[in-house]
């Protein structure tokens, strides 16, 4: 039985006329790192909220079907119990700052205070989490004085420190530079290796191709495609439906039409593109 299990989940916000999630079926295994992508308004954030229990417990609205995480049904659980298992960090880091704390260290400890972790253990866990995400040097700063990218790291750390079984991240690198993005993907990959299950909404296809185990393409509230990163990210369907795709894929597709790309599989990353164009039996040599 999969760790995360969506069965025919259909959901409508109180104010929307049509469903935002339509008949979603989704299975994620324990320790798997899944990337979710899709155009604006596809329902990615709503999917995250559904995983984290906020849909429907916080937003209300109409839901049908069944959401299960770790064998427990969302419909039979309460939000305050659910969040102990499922951690959520979302896009806007500024609104994730609790506003009740004066330093980054205290901010990260906030969740542990709420769930009654003893003081000594709390300090160790905060230290460890900050080291993991590389923000130790920010410990004494005010969370409000940080850049957007730094705040996003703090938001991620504040959730990681709670050690959820399922980690849900909604565009966690949107304000980060390439170095920050790479580090976050690295941390997430590491957590997955250690058994944490991860669902991450992202647009940065090259990093997805490099790090994720599986990709889900969401469109108009439905799963359009799912599968291995390179299969999904190079599918002809994606650009037709308005998904952002890798420029290397676009270039190689053009080249393919001119007979210049001779590999079976289109590339996603620069490395794959370079390999494909130069390797023997393929490439653009003529």
């Amino acid at each position: 039985m999969a760790f995360v299990n969506f069965q025919n989940v259909t959901y409508k916000y109180p104010l929307t006329k049509t469903p935002v999630l339509k008949n979603i079926n989704l299975q994620v295994n324990e320790g798997e790192f899944i990337a979710v992508m899709g155009p604006n308004g596809a329902g990615k954030s709503t999917l995250c909220y559904a995983l984290a229990g906020f849909v429907p417990h916080f937003f209300k609205g109409e839901i049908s079907g069944e959401i299960e995480v770790d064998g427990k049904k969302s419909s039979e659980s309460t939000l305050d119990e659910w969040v102990l298992n499922v951690g959520l960090a979302f896009q806007n880091p500024f609104n994730q700052i609790s506003g009740a704390k004066y330093t980054v260290f205290e901010e990260i400890a906030f969740g542990l205070e709420n769930i009654g972790v003893p003081r000594n253990e709390m300090k160790d866990r905060v230290d460890e989490a900050m080291a993991l995400t590389g923000i130790r040097d920010l410990a004494d700063r005010s969370p409000y004085s940080l850049s957007g990218g730094q705040q996003q790291r703090v938001a991620l750390t504040s959730i990681l420190v709670m050690r959820p079984r399922l980690l849900v991240l909604d565009e966690p690198t949107s304000q980060m530079d390439p170095i920050g993005t790479r580090e976050v993907f690295g941390v997430v990959r590491k957590m997955a290796e250690e058994g944490m299950t991860v669902v991450m909404v992202e647009h940065k296809v090259e990093w997805i191709a490099h790090f994720a185990d599986r990709v889900i393409a969401l469109n108009e509230g439905q799963v359009l495609m799912e599968g291995k990163p390179n299969e999904v990210l190079t599918a002809d369907l994606l650009p037709e439906k308005g998904f952002g795709i890798s420029r290397y894929t676009s270039v190689a597709r053009q080249a393919q039409q001119q007979g210049l790309w001779k590999q079976k599989q289109l590339p996603v990353t620069l490395f794959e593109a370079a390999e494909g164009f130069t390797s023997k039996g393929g490439g653009g040599s003529n």
Binding site: Y49, A52, F54, F58, L79, D80, V83, L84, G87, L88, A89, F90, N92, N95, Q96, I97, S98, G99, A100, K101, Y102, F105, E106, A109, F110, G111, L112, E113, N114, I115, G116, V117, P118, R119, M122, K123, R141, S142, Y144, S145, A155, S158, I159, M162
Partner: protein
């Protein structure tokens, strides 16, 4: 953006090691004594002797004196002048300036009132300088103040400067689109209207997201909360609180008895 949003100064002093509630009670005692004690010189002695000593005990003397000179003294002087000139009591005129005059009674009355205000504001200043806001809130929550209530107070204190900064951003944005935000009163009041939308609507979305964010971090969890900072509460604290309570009762008692 402001790096430091609280007055608190981290030092290692006897005052810093007191429990926040004890300090709060000390503030209350000082204020009540200054206002209620039936001896004329009480507020003066408290203001010029006790308060400075207290600030030095808390190792925040420098910070306290700078606040006192920049803020408290000017405010008290203004208050003193207003009351001295406009209090219609007494006969014996000791100072005249055109149509304004000060009598002996109004002078004494205004002087002790100004001193009372100095004691009140100074006591709070020293309290804020030596008490960490999160510590205060954790302590009060531990003693039964609802967590939500504490959160609202402390997050408001923090978020106000952020709101201000945001309003400023919106104003600049609207101005760059040709909006008048300077000039006469009506012009400026009218110019506020287009700011309300982004500020209020933005805040509603923000409030929703912030609610989600703190909920995701177990804010409404039924576990008993713990606190990162150890909050001191020694037998000295308990003794001191009994003593302060007795002092408060004594000044109220004396006041009633002597009047």
């Amino acid at each position: 953006m402001p790096e430091r949003l609280s007055f608190h100064i981290k030092r290692d002093s006897a005052l810093h090691h007191l429990n926040p509630l004890t300090k709060l009670l000390l503030v209350l005692t000082l204020i009540l004594t200054a206002f209620l004690a039936p001896f004329y010189w009480t507020p003066h002695i408290l203001a010029v002797l006790f308060i400075p000593l207290l600030s030095m005990l808390g190792k925040v003397g420098r910070e306290y004196f700078s606040t006192a000179i920049r803020l408290i003294l000017p405010a008290a002087t203004f208050l003193f002048a207003m009351q001295a000139f406009f209090q219609p009591v007494g006969e014996e005129i000791i100072f005249e300036f055109y149509f304004l005059d000060i009598t002996r009674e109004s002078f004494l009355f205004a002087f002790s009132n100004a001193m009372r205000i100095v004691v009140m504001v100074s006591a709070f200043t020293i309290f804020l300088l030596t008490t960490h806001p999160s510590e205060l809130m954790s302590d009060l929550t531990r003693r039964g103040l609802p967590g939500q209530f504490a959160y609202v107070i402390i997050s408001t204190l923090q978020i106000l400067p952020q709101m201000q900064a945001k309003a400023q951003t919106i104003i600049s944005a609207q101005r760059s689109r040709g909006l008048e935000t300077e000039g006469g009163f009506f012009k400026r009041a009218g110019a506020l209207v287009p700011l309300i939308g982004p500020l209020v609507f933005g805040s509603l979305v923000e409030v929703e997201e912030r609610a989600i964010a703190i909920e995701a971090r177990g804010f409404t969890s039924k576990h008993v909360k713990t606190s990162l900072h150890e909050i001191p509460d020694t037998s000295t604290d308990k003794l001191l609180r009994w003593f302060l309570t007795a002092l408060i009762l004594a000044s109220i008692g004396l006041r009633i008895w002597l009047s």
